[in-house]
Protein backbone atom coordinates (compact mmCIF):
# COMPACT_ATOMS: atom_id res chain seq x y z
CA UNK A 1 0.00 0.00 0.00
CA UNK A 2 1.30 3.41 -0.83
CA UNK A 3 2.09 6.06 1.72
CA UNK A 4 -0.42 8.62 0.59
CA UNK A 5 -3.25 6.62 2.14
CA UNK A 6 -1.56 6.33 5.52
CA UNK A 7 -2.66 8.62 8.35
CA UNK A 8 -0.04 11.37 8.84
CA UNK A 9 1.75 11.52 12.18
CA UNK A 10 -0.04 13.96 14.53
CA UNK A 11 2.45 16.72 15.10
CA UNK A 12 1.23 20.23 14.43
CA UNK A 13 3.28 23.36 14.23
CA UNK A 14 2.55 26.38 16.44
CA UNK A 15 1.11 28.12 13.43
CA UNK A 16 -1.33 25.30 12.88
CA UNK A 17 -2.36 25.28 16.55
CA UNK A 18 -3.04 29.01 16.28
CA UNK A 19 -5.12 28.44 13.16
CA UNK A 20 -7.20 25.74 14.91
CA UNK A 21 -7.68 28.02 17.93
CA UNK A 22 -8.96 30.91 15.81
CA UNK A 23 -11.25 28.61 13.85
CA UNK A 24 -12.74 27.27 17.10
CA UNK A 25 -13.22 30.74 18.51
CA UNK A 26 -15.08 31.88 15.41
CA UNK A 27 -17.33 28.84 15.65
CA UNK A 28 -18.04 29.42 19.34
CA UNK A 29 -18.85 33.08 18.67
CA UNK A 30 -21.55 32.01 16.20
CA UNK A 31 -22.98 29.50 18.65
CA UNK A 32 -23.04 31.95 21.54
CA UNK A 33 -24.68 34.64 19.40
CA UNK A 34 -27.44 32.23 18.43
CA UNK A 35 -28.16 31.41 22.06
CA UNK A 36 -28.11 35.10 23.01
CA UNK A 37 -30.71 35.96 20.34
CA UNK A 38 -33.06 33.21 21.48
CA UNK A 39 -32.69 34.11 25.15
CA UNK A 40 -33.14 37.80 24.38
CA UNK A 41 -36.38 37.23 22.48
CA UNK A 42 -37.89 35.16 25.30
CA UNK A 43 -36.61 37.52 28.00
CA UNK A 44 -37.95 40.58 26.21
CA UNK A 45 -41.27 38.86 25.61
CA UNK A 46 -41.59 37.94 29.29
CA UNK A 47 -40.53 41.38 30.43
CA UNK A 48 -42.87 43.18 28.02
CA UNK A 49 -45.79 41.11 29.23
CA UNK A 50 -44.93 41.63 32.91
CA UNK A 51 -44.56 45.40 32.48
CA UNK A 52 -47.84 45.45 30.52
CA UNK A 53 -46.22 46.83 27.36
CA UNK A 54 -48.16 44.10 25.63
CA UNK A 55 -51.36 42.37 26.69
CA UNK A 56 -50.41 38.82 27.81
CA UNK A 57 -53.99 37.71 27.14
CA UNK A 58 -53.44 38.42 23.42
CA UNK A 59 -49.68 37.95 23.10
CA UNK A 60 -49.22 35.25 25.77
CA UNK A 61 -45.83 35.05 27.48
CA UNK A 62 -43.06 32.47 28.09
CA UNK A 63 -44.02 31.74 31.71
CA UNK A 64 -47.63 31.10 30.66
CA UNK A 65 -46.41 28.88 27.83
CA UNK A 66 -44.34 26.94 30.33
CA UNK A 67 -47.36 26.57 32.60
CA UNK A 68 -49.44 25.32 29.68
CA UNK A 69 -46.76 22.79 28.77
CA UNK A 70 -46.72 21.49 32.36
CA UNK A 71 -50.48 21.20 32.62
CA UNK A 72 -50.79 19.58 29.17
CA UNK A 73 -48.03 17.13 30.10
CA UNK A 74 -49.80 16.15 33.30
CA UNK A 75 -52.88 14.81 31.54
CA UNK A 76 -50.72 13.44 28.71
CA UNK A 77 -52.63 15.30 25.99
CA UNK A 78 -49.47 17.13 24.90
CA UNK A 79 -47.83 13.86 23.92
CA UNK A 80 -50.96 12.55 22.24
CA UNK A 81 -51.35 15.62 20.02
CA UNK A 82 -47.65 15.90 19.20
CA UNK A 83 -47.50 12.16 18.49
CA UNK A 84 -50.52 12.36 16.17
CA UNK A 85 -48.97 15.20 14.18
CA UNK A 86 -45.59 13.49 13.89
CA UNK A 87 -47.19 10.18 12.93
CA UNK A 88 -49.31 11.78 10.22
CA UNK A 89 -46.31 13.69 8.89
CA UNK A 90 -44.12 10.60 8.70
CA UNK A 91 -46.81 8.57 6.93
CA UNK A 92 -47.48 11.52 4.61
CA UNK A 93 -43.94 12.15 3.56
CA UNK A 94 -42.94 8.50 3.29
CA UNK A 95 -45.93 7.73 1.06
CA UNK A 96 -45.35 10.96 -0.89
CA UNK A 97 -41.71 10.08 -1.47
CA UNK A 98 -42.34 6.43 -2.37
CA UNK A 99 -45.31 7.10 -4.66
CA UNK A 100 -43.55 10.08 -6.23
CA UNK A 101 -40.47 7.97 -6.93
CA UNK A 102 -42.60 5.23 -8.50
CA UNK A 103 -44.32 7.74 -10.77
CA UNK A 104 -40.90 9.24 -11.63
CA UNK A 105 -39.75 5.74 -12.66
CA UNK A 106 -42.77 5.43 -14.97
CA UNK A 107 -41.95 8.82 -16.53
CA UNK A 108 -38.29 7.81 -16.98
CA UNK A 109 -39.33 4.52 -18.51
CA UNK A 110 -41.65 6.05 -21.06
CA UNK A 111 -40.49 9.28 -22.60
CA UNK A 112 -43.86 9.52 -24.35
CA UNK A 113 -45.75 9.50 -21.02
CA UNK A 114 -43.35 12.08 -19.61
CA UNK A 115 -43.88 14.41 -22.55
CA UNK A 116 -47.67 13.99 -22.44
CA UNK A 117 -47.90 14.60 -18.68
CA UNK A 118 -45.43 17.48 -18.54
CA UNK A 119 -47.96 20.38 -18.71
CA UNK A 120 -50.23 18.71 -16.15
CA UNK A 121 -47.34 18.35 -13.71
CA UNK A 122 -46.33 21.96 -14.22
CA UNK A 123 -49.88 23.19 -13.47
CA UNK A 124 -50.27 20.86 -10.47
CA UNK A 125 -46.93 22.06 -9.15
CA UNK A 126 -47.97 25.71 -9.45
CA UNK A 127 -51.41 25.10 -7.88
CA UNK A 128 -51.51 25.78 -4.10
CA UNK A 129 -52.48 22.29 -2.93
CA UNK A 130 -54.02 23.62 0.27
CA UNK A 131 -56.86 24.95 -1.91
CA UNK A 132 -57.90 21.33 -2.42
CA UNK A 133 -58.37 20.84 1.35
CA UNK A 134 -62.18 21.23 1.45
CA UNK A 135 -62.55 18.90 -1.56
CA UNK A 136 -60.46 16.21 0.13
CA UNK A 137 -62.41 16.66 3.35
CA UNK A 138 -65.65 15.99 1.48
CA UNK A 139 -64.30 13.11 -0.58
CA UNK A 140 -62.26 11.26 2.03
CA UNK A 141 -64.18 12.35 5.11
CA UNK A 142 -63.20 13.96 8.38
CA UNK A 143 -60.63 11.35 9.35
CA UNK A 144 -56.87 10.90 9.60
CA UNK A 145 -57.12 9.71 5.99
CA UNK A 146 -57.90 13.24 4.82
CA UNK A 147 -54.91 14.63 6.70
CA UNK A 148 -52.53 12.07 5.21
CA UNK A 149 -53.89 12.66 1.70
CA UNK A 150 -53.29 16.38 2.24
CA UNK A 151 -49.68 15.73 3.34
CA UNK A 152 -49.17 13.35 0.42
CA UNK A 153 -50.53 15.85 -2.10
CA UNK A 154 -48.20 18.57 -0.91
CA UNK A 155 -45.08 16.47 -1.29
CA UNK A 156 -45.81 14.18 -4.23
CA UNK A 157 -45.63 16.63 -7.13
CA UNK A 158 -42.30 18.11 -6.02
CA UNK A 159 -41.00 14.57 -5.52
CA UNK A 160 -42.02 13.49 -9.01
CA UNK A 161 -40.41 16.55 -10.60
CA UNK A 162 -37.18 16.36 -8.56
CA UNK A 163 -36.62 12.63 -8.86
CA UNK A 164 -37.50 12.54 -12.54
CA UNK A 165 -35.01 15.34 -13.17
CA UNK A 166 -32.41 13.43 -11.20
CA UNK A 167 -33.05 10.29 -13.30
CA UNK A 168 -32.66 12.34 -16.47
CA UNK A 169 -29.41 13.86 -15.19
CA UNK A 170 -27.86 10.41 -14.81
CA UNK A 171 -24.60 10.36 -16.76
CA UNK A 172 -25.34 9.26 -20.35
CA UNK A 173 -21.85 7.77 -20.65
CA UNK A 174 -22.42 5.54 -17.63
CA UNK A 175 -25.62 4.28 -19.26
CA UNK A 176 -23.74 3.80 -22.52
CA UNK A 177 -21.12 1.75 -20.70
CA UNK A 178 -23.79 -0.61 -19.36
CA UNK A 179 -25.41 -0.81 -22.78
CA UNK A 180 -22.13 -2.05 -24.27
CA UNK A 181 -22.37 -4.96 -21.85
CA UNK A 182 -25.85 -5.58 -23.28
CA UNK A 183 -27.84 -4.19 -20.33
CA UNK A 184 -31.64 -4.17 -20.45
CA UNK A 185 -33.67 -1.13 -19.40
CA UNK A 186 -34.46 -2.73 -16.02
CA UNK A 187 -30.76 -3.37 -15.44
CA UNK A 188 -29.91 0.22 -16.36
CA UNK A 189 -32.52 1.43 -13.86
CA UNK A 190 -31.33 -0.85 -11.08
CA UNK A 191 -27.58 -0.67 -11.59
CA UNK A 192 -27.02 2.98 -12.41
CA UNK A 193 -30.06 5.27 -12.54
CA UNK A 194 -31.48 4.49 -9.09
CA UNK A 195 -28.18 4.28 -7.17
CA UNK A 196 -26.89 7.51 -8.67
CA UNK A 197 -30.14 9.29 -7.71
CA UNK A 198 -30.03 8.32 -4.03
CA UNK A 199 -28.43 11.60 -2.87
CA UNK A 200 -31.21 13.52 -4.67
CA UNK A 201 -33.81 11.25 -3.13
CA UNK A 202 -32.52 12.04 0.35
CA UNK A 203 -32.52 15.77 -0.31
CA UNK A 204 -36.10 15.42 -1.59
CA UNK A 205 -36.92 13.66 1.68
CA UNK A 206 -35.61 16.73 3.49
CA UNK A 207 -37.88 19.05 1.49
CA UNK A 208 -40.80 16.68 1.96
CA UNK A 209 -40.61 16.73 5.76
CA UNK A 210 -41.41 20.44 5.67
CA UNK A 211 -44.05 20.17 2.94
CA UNK A 212 -45.83 17.24 4.57
CA UNK A 213 -45.95 19.11 7.85
CA UNK A 214 -47.73 22.00 6.08
CA UNK A 215 -50.20 19.46 4.67
CA UNK A 216 -50.75 17.86 8.06
CA UNK A 217 -51.38 21.17 9.84
CA UNK A 218 -53.82 22.34 7.16
CA UNK A 219 -55.49 18.92 7.34
CA UNK A 220 -55.77 19.15 11.11
CA UNK A 221 -57.27 22.64 10.84
CA UNK A 222 -59.99 21.20 8.62
CA UNK A 223 -60.60 17.85 10.30
CA UNK A 224 -60.26 19.29 13.84
CA UNK A 225 -60.00 16.13 15.88
CA UNK A 226 -56.45 15.84 17.21
CA UNK A 227 -52.91 17.03 16.62
CA UNK A 228 -51.03 20.28 17.07
CA UNK A 229 -52.93 21.84 14.15
CA UNK A 230 -56.17 21.05 15.97
CA UNK A 231 -54.81 22.59 19.22
CA UNK A 232 -53.86 25.76 17.33
CA UNK A 233 -57.24 26.20 15.64
CA UNK A 234 -59.10 25.27 18.84
CA UNK A 235 -56.99 27.66 20.94
CA UNK A 236 -57.66 30.43 18.41
CA UNK A 237 -61.41 29.85 18.46
CA UNK A 238 -61.74 29.87 22.25
CA UNK A 239 -59.19 32.67 22.53
CA UNK A 240 -56.64 30.70 24.53
CA UNK A 241 -53.54 32.30 23.11
CA UNK A 242 -51.31 30.44 25.58
CA UNK A 243 -52.43 27.19 24.00
CA UNK A 244 -51.83 28.55 20.48
CA UNK A 245 -48.33 29.81 21.30
CA UNK A 246 -47.43 26.58 23.11
CA UNK A 247 -48.56 24.48 20.16
CA UNK A 248 -46.65 26.62 17.70
CA UNK A 249 -43.45 26.35 19.76
CA UNK A 250 -43.80 22.59 20.11
CA UNK A 251 -44.53 22.35 16.39
CA UNK A 252 -41.30 24.23 15.69
CA UNK A 253 -39.33 21.83 17.88
CA UNK A 254 -40.97 18.77 16.29
CA UNK A 255 -40.27 20.08 12.77
CA UNK A 256 -36.63 20.74 13.63
CA UNK A 257 -36.24 17.26 15.13
CA UNK A 258 -37.71 15.56 12.07
CA UNK A 259 -35.50 17.59 9.75
CA UNK A 260 -32.42 16.78 11.84
CA UNK A 261 -33.30 13.09 11.72
CA UNK A 262 -33.33 13.11 7.93
CA UNK A 263 -30.13 15.14 7.87
CA UNK A 264 -28.56 12.58 10.19
CA UNK A 265 -29.64 9.70 7.92
CA UNK A 266 -28.14 11.57 4.98
CA UNK A 267 -24.84 12.00 6.80
CA UNK A 268 -24.74 8.32 7.75
CA UNK A 269 -25.47 7.40 4.18
CA UNK A 270 -22.80 9.61 2.66
CA UNK A 271 -20.27 8.21 5.12
CA UNK A 272 -21.24 4.69 4.09
CA UNK A 273 -20.27 5.40 0.51
Amino acid sequence: MSEEYAVPAVKYSMEHAEFIRKERMARNAVRISRIIILTAIFALWELAANLKWIDPFIMSQPSRVLKTIVSLSKDGSLFVHTGVTIYETIIGFLSGTILGTLIAIVLWWSDFTARVLDPYLVVLNALPKTALGPIILVWVGGTTGSIIVMALLLSIIVTILNIYQSFKDCDEDKIKLLKTFGATKTQILRKVVLPSSIPDMISTLKINVGLSLVGVIVGEFLVSKAGLGYLIIYGGQVFKMDLVMTSVIILGVAAALMYLTVAWIEKKFIKMR
Binding site: M1, Y5, D171, D173, K174, K176, L177, L178, K179, T180, F181, G182, A183, Q187, K191, V192, P195, S196, I198, R273
Partner: protein
Protein backbone atom coordinates in the same frame (compact mmCIF):
# COMPACT_ATOMS: atom_id res chain seq x y z
CA UNK B 1 -4.65 -13.49 -40.51
CA UNK B 2 -8.33 -13.72 -39.56
CA UNK B 3 -10.41 -10.63 -39.79
CA UNK B 4 -12.26 -10.08 -36.53
CA UNK B 5 -13.88 -6.79 -37.49
CA UNK B 6 -14.94 -5.80 -40.97
CA UNK B 7 -16.62 -2.59 -42.05
CA UNK B 8 -17.98 -2.56 -45.59
CA UNK B 9 -19.03 0.72 -47.18
CA UNK B 10 -20.43 2.06 -43.91
CA UNK B 11 -22.29 5.37 -43.99
CA UNK B 12 -23.73 7.01 -40.92
CA UNK B 13 -26.05 10.01 -40.82
CA UNK B 14 -27.29 11.82 -37.74
CA UNK B 15 -30.73 13.37 -37.81
CA UNK B 16 -32.00 16.30 -35.80
CA UNK B 17 -34.93 18.65 -36.43
CA UNK B 18 -32.43 21.20 -37.72
CA UNK B 19 -31.17 18.86 -40.37
CA UNK B 20 -28.97 15.98 -41.22
CA UNK B 21 -25.25 15.49 -40.64
CA UNK B 22 -23.18 12.92 -42.41
CA UNK B 23 -20.68 11.59 -39.86
CA UNK B 24 -19.18 8.70 -41.80
CA UNK B 25 -19.18 8.21 -45.56
CA UNK B 26 -18.58 4.96 -47.40
CA UNK B 27 -15.95 3.74 -44.98
CA UNK B 28 -14.39 0.30 -45.21
CA UNK B 29 -11.73 -1.21 -42.97
CA UNK B 30 -10.64 -4.52 -41.45
CA UNK B 31 -9.15 -5.36 -38.08
CA UNK B 32 -7.20 -8.60 -37.82
CA UNK B 33 -6.94 -10.89 -34.81
CA UNK B 34 -4.41 -9.83 -32.20
CA UNK B 35 -3.77 -6.48 -33.86
CA UNK B 36 -3.48 -3.16 -32.09
CA UNK B 37 -4.99 -0.59 -34.43
CA UNK B 38 -5.26 3.13 -33.78
CA UNK B 39 -7.69 5.41 -35.49
CA UNK B 40 -6.69 9.05 -35.64
CA UNK B 41 -8.48 11.94 -37.27
CA UNK B 42 -9.33 15.60 -36.83
CA UNK B 43 -11.51 16.33 -33.81
CA UNK B 44 -15.21 15.82 -34.40
CA UNK B 45 -14.61 13.63 -37.45
CA UNK B 46 -16.69 10.70 -36.22
CA UNK B 47 -14.05 8.52 -34.57
CA UNK B 48 -16.24 7.77 -31.57
CA UNK B 49 -19.19 7.11 -33.85
CA UNK B 50 -17.09 4.42 -35.46
CA UNK B 51 -16.62 2.67 -32.12
CA UNK B 52 -20.31 2.98 -31.27
CA UNK B 53 -21.07 1.31 -34.60
CA UNK B 54 -18.64 -1.58 -33.99
CA UNK B 55 -19.95 -2.09 -30.47
CA UNK B 56 -23.50 -2.32 -31.82
CA UNK B 57 -24.88 0.62 -29.85
CA UNK B 58 -26.06 2.31 -33.04
CA UNK B 59 -26.92 1.01 -36.49
CA UNK B 60 -25.33 2.38 -39.65
CA UNK B 61 -27.51 4.20 -42.19
CA UNK B 62 -26.10 1.87 -44.84
CA UNK B 63 -23.30 -0.63 -45.24
CA UNK B 64 -22.37 -3.69 -43.27
CA UNK B 65 -20.43 -4.34 -40.08
CA UNK B 66 -19.17 -7.83 -39.25
CA UNK B 67 -17.62 -9.01 -35.99
CA UNK B 68 -16.24 -12.56 -36.21
CA UNK B 69 -17.89 -12.82 -39.64
CA UNK B 70 -21.33 -12.23 -38.10
CA UNK B 71 -23.34 -9.07 -38.82
CA UNK B 72 -23.59 -6.80 -35.77
CA UNK B 73 -27.17 -6.53 -34.50
CA UNK B 74 -26.55 -5.18 -31.00
CA UNK B 75 -23.97 -5.19 -28.20
CA UNK B 76 -22.03 -8.44 -28.19
CA UNK B 77 -20.13 -10.03 -25.31
CA UNK B 78 -17.20 -10.45 -27.73
CA UNK B 79 -16.70 -6.71 -27.87
CA UNK B 80 -15.58 -4.71 -24.85
CA UNK B 81 -15.79 -0.96 -24.72
CA UNK B 82 -13.65 1.36 -22.63
CA UNK B 83 -14.91 4.94 -22.39
CA UNK B 84 -13.01 8.24 -22.21
CA UNK B 85 -13.39 8.65 -18.50
CA UNK B 86 -13.24 5.65 -16.19
CA UNK B 87 -16.94 5.91 -15.20
CA UNK B 88 -16.41 3.75 -12.15
CA UNK B 89 -19.56 3.74 -10.01
CA UNK B 90 -18.65 5.58 -6.82
CA UNK B 91 -21.14 3.56 -4.74
CA UNK B 92 -19.46 0.28 -5.64
CA UNK B 93 -16.12 -1.06 -4.46
CA UNK B 94 -13.40 -1.66 -7.03
CA UNK B 95 -14.15 -5.39 -7.09
CA UNK B 96 -17.90 -4.75 -7.50
CA UNK B 97 -17.11 -2.25 -10.26
CA UNK B 98 -15.05 -4.77 -12.18
CA UNK B 99 -17.81 -7.38 -12.02
CA UNK B 100 -20.62 -5.12 -13.26
CA UNK B 101 -20.33 -6.52 -16.81
CA UNK B 102 -20.58 -10.06 -15.50
CA UNK B 103 -23.65 -9.13 -13.44
CA UNK B 104 -25.34 -7.65 -16.49
CA UNK B 105 -24.52 -10.60 -18.70
CA UNK B 106 -25.63 -13.00 -15.92
CA UNK B 107 -22.20 -14.56 -15.93
CA UNK B 108 -21.48 -14.14 -12.23
CA UNK B 109 -20.15 -17.42 -10.92
CA UNK B 110 -17.24 -18.55 -8.81
CA UNK B 111 -15.00 -18.92 -11.84
CA UNK B 112 -15.66 -15.52 -13.40
CA UNK B 113 -15.39 -13.83 -10.01
CA UNK B 114 -12.07 -15.54 -9.45
CA UNK B 115 -10.92 -14.33 -12.85
CA UNK B 116 -11.84 -10.75 -11.97
CA UNK B 117 -9.90 -11.06 -8.71
CA UNK B 118 -6.96 -12.56 -10.59
CA UNK B 119 -6.92 -9.59 -12.96
CA UNK B 120 -7.00 -7.17 -10.02
CA UNK B 121 -4.20 -9.05 -8.25
CA UNK B 122 -2.09 -9.37 -11.35
CA UNK B 123 -2.35 -5.74 -12.32
CA UNK B 124 -1.60 -4.24 -8.94
CA UNK B 125 -5.09 -3.54 -7.61
CA UNK B 126 -5.45 -6.62 -5.41
CA UNK B 127 -4.94 -4.62 -2.21
CA UNK B 128 -7.52 -2.07 -3.32
CA UNK B 129 -10.39 -4.33 -4.31
CA UNK B 130 -12.49 -3.31 -1.30
CA UNK B 131 -11.72 0.39 -1.73
CA UNK B 132 -14.11 2.87 -3.28
CA UNK B 133 -13.13 4.60 -6.56
CA UNK B 134 -12.63 8.02 -4.97
CA UNK B 135 -9.87 6.53 -2.80
CA UNK B 136 -7.81 5.67 -5.90
CA UNK B 137 -5.55 7.78 -8.10
CA UNK B 138 -6.49 8.59 -11.70
CA UNK B 139 -4.13 6.00 -13.16
CA UNK B 140 -5.36 3.28 -10.83
CA UNK B 141 -8.95 4.10 -11.68
CA UNK B 142 -8.20 3.79 -15.38
CA UNK B 143 -6.59 0.41 -14.78
CA UNK B 144 -9.69 -0.66 -12.83
CA UNK B 145 -11.81 0.47 -15.78
CA UNK B 146 -9.76 -1.73 -18.13
CA UNK B 147 -10.12 -4.68 -15.78
CA UNK B 148 -13.89 -4.09 -15.71
CA UNK B 149 -13.85 -4.47 -19.51
CA UNK B 150 -11.51 -7.48 -19.43
CA UNK B 151 -13.49 -9.28 -16.70
CA UNK B 152 -16.36 -9.85 -19.13
CA UNK B 153 -13.75 -11.60 -21.29
CA UNK B 154 -14.26 -9.91 -24.66
CA UNK B 155 -12.12 -10.75 -27.64
CA UNK B 156 -11.96 -7.22 -29.03
CA UNK B 157 -11.36 -4.08 -27.00
CA UNK B 158 -12.61 -0.72 -28.20
CA UNK B 159 -10.71 2.09 -26.49
CA UNK B 160 -12.37 5.48 -26.88
CA UNK B 161 -9.62 8.00 -26.04
CA UNK B 162 -9.16 6.24 -22.71
CA UNK B 163 -6.25 8.41 -21.59
CA UNK B 164 -7.53 11.84 -22.53
CA UNK B 165 -8.75 12.71 -19.03
CA UNK B 166 -5.34 12.03 -17.45
CA UNK B 167 -2.39 14.35 -17.01
CA UNK B 168 0.57 13.83 -19.32
CA UNK B 169 2.88 11.83 -17.03
CA UNK B 170 0.10 9.51 -15.86
CA UNK B 171 -0.96 9.17 -19.44
CA UNK B 172 2.45 7.91 -20.58
CA UNK B 173 2.71 5.50 -17.68
CA UNK B 174 -0.82 4.15 -17.96
CA UNK B 175 -0.71 3.71 -21.73
CA UNK B 176 2.40 1.60 -21.24
CA UNK B 177 0.67 -0.49 -18.59
CA UNK B 178 -2.53 -0.90 -20.51
CA UNK B 179 -0.63 -1.89 -23.64
CA UNK B 180 1.20 -4.56 -21.66
CA UNK B 181 -2.04 -5.87 -20.17
CA UNK B 182 -3.73 -6.04 -23.57
CA UNK B 183 -0.77 -7.89 -25.10
CA UNK B 184 -0.55 -10.27 -22.15
CA UNK B 185 -4.25 -11.08 -22.28
CA UNK B 186 -3.89 -11.48 -26.08
CA UNK B 187 -6.73 -9.17 -27.06
CA UNK B 188 -7.40 -7.35 -30.29
CA UNK B 189 -7.57 -3.61 -29.67
CA UNK B 190 -8.94 -0.61 -31.53
CA UNK B 191 -7.82 2.69 -30.06
CA UNK B 192 -9.40 5.98 -31.00
CA UNK B 193 -7.18 8.94 -30.18
CA UNK B 194 -6.18 12.39 -31.34
CA UNK B 195 -2.68 11.95 -29.91
CA UNK B 196 -0.42 10.99 -32.81
CA UNK B 197 2.50 9.96 -30.59
CA UNK B 198 0.23 7.69 -28.59
CA UNK B 199 -1.11 6.10 -31.77
CA UNK B 200 2.33 5.50 -33.31
CA UNK B 201 3.90 4.18 -30.12
CA UNK B 202 1.14 1.74 -29.22
CA UNK B 203 -0.08 0.39 -32.54
CA UNK B 204 0.72 -2.16 -35.19
CA UNK B 205 -1.27 -0.07 -37.63
CA UNK B 206 -2.57 3.50 -37.70
CA UNK B 207 -5.62 4.47 -39.75
CA UNK B 208 -6.00 8.16 -40.56
CA UNK B 209 -9.49 9.52 -41.16
CA UNK B 210 -10.48 12.62 -43.11
CA UNK B 211 -12.56 15.55 -41.91
CA UNK B 212 -16.27 14.87 -41.48
CA UNK B 213 -17.83 12.96 -43.22
CA UNK B 214 -15.10 10.53 -42.24
CA UNK B 215 -13.44 8.33 -44.84
CA UNK B 216 -10.17 6.42 -44.61
CA UNK B 217 -7.45 8.80 -45.73
CA UNK B 218 -4.48 6.49 -45.32
CA UNK B 219 -3.15 3.51 -43.43
CA UNK B 220 0.31 3.07 -41.94
CA UNK B 221 1.86 -0.21 -40.86
CA UNK B 222 4.06 0.81 -37.99
CA UNK B 223 7.43 -0.89 -38.05
CA UNK B 224 9.80 0.48 -35.46
CA UNK B 225 13.27 -0.83 -34.69
CA UNK B 226 13.84 -1.00 -30.98
CA UNK B 227 16.57 -3.05 -29.41
CA UNK B 228 14.34 -3.83 -26.47
CA UNK B 229 10.77 -5.03 -26.09
CA UNK B 230 8.37 -3.07 -28.29
CA UNK B 231 6.49 -1.36 -25.51
CA UNK B 232 5.06 2.11 -26.17
CA UNK B 233 7.75 3.94 -24.19
CA UNK B 234 10.59 2.08 -25.92
CA UNK B 235 8.91 2.69 -29.26
CA UNK B 236 9.06 6.42 -28.68
CA UNK B 237 12.86 6.13 -28.83
CA UNK B 238 12.93 4.33 -32.19
CA UNK B 239 14.52 6.33 -35.04
CA UNK B 240 11.46 5.83 -37.30
CA UNK B 241 9.08 7.18 -34.67
CA UNK B 242 9.60 10.79 -35.75
CA UNK B 243 9.11 9.87 -39.41
CA UNK B 244 5.71 8.28 -38.79
CA UNK B 245 4.76 11.12 -36.51
CA UNK B 246 5.51 13.77 -39.14
CA UNK B 247 3.81 11.87 -41.91
CA UNK B 248 0.58 11.44 -39.98
CA UNK B 249 0.73 15.00 -38.68
CA UNK B 250 0.90 16.29 -42.27
CA UNK B 251 -1.95 14.04 -43.33
CA UNK B 252 -4.18 15.33 -40.58
CA UNK B 253 -3.73 18.71 -42.21
CA UNK B 254 -4.52 20.79 -39.15
CA UNK B 255 -5.36 24.43 -39.71
CA UNK B 256 -5.89 26.57 -36.66
Amino acid sequence: MDKVVELKNVTMNYHTLDGETQAIKNLSLDIRKGEFVSIVGPSGCGKSTLLSLISGLIKPSSGEILVDNEPVTGPSPNVGYMPQRDHLFEWRTILKNTTIGLEIQNKMNRESLKNAERLLDEYGLGDFKNYYPKQLSGGMRQRAALIRTLAANPEILLLDEPFSALDYQTRLAISEEIWLIIKKEEKTAVLVTHDIAEAVSMSDRVIVLTQRPAEVKSEHNIDLTTGKCKTPINCREAPEFRVYFNKIWKELDVHV
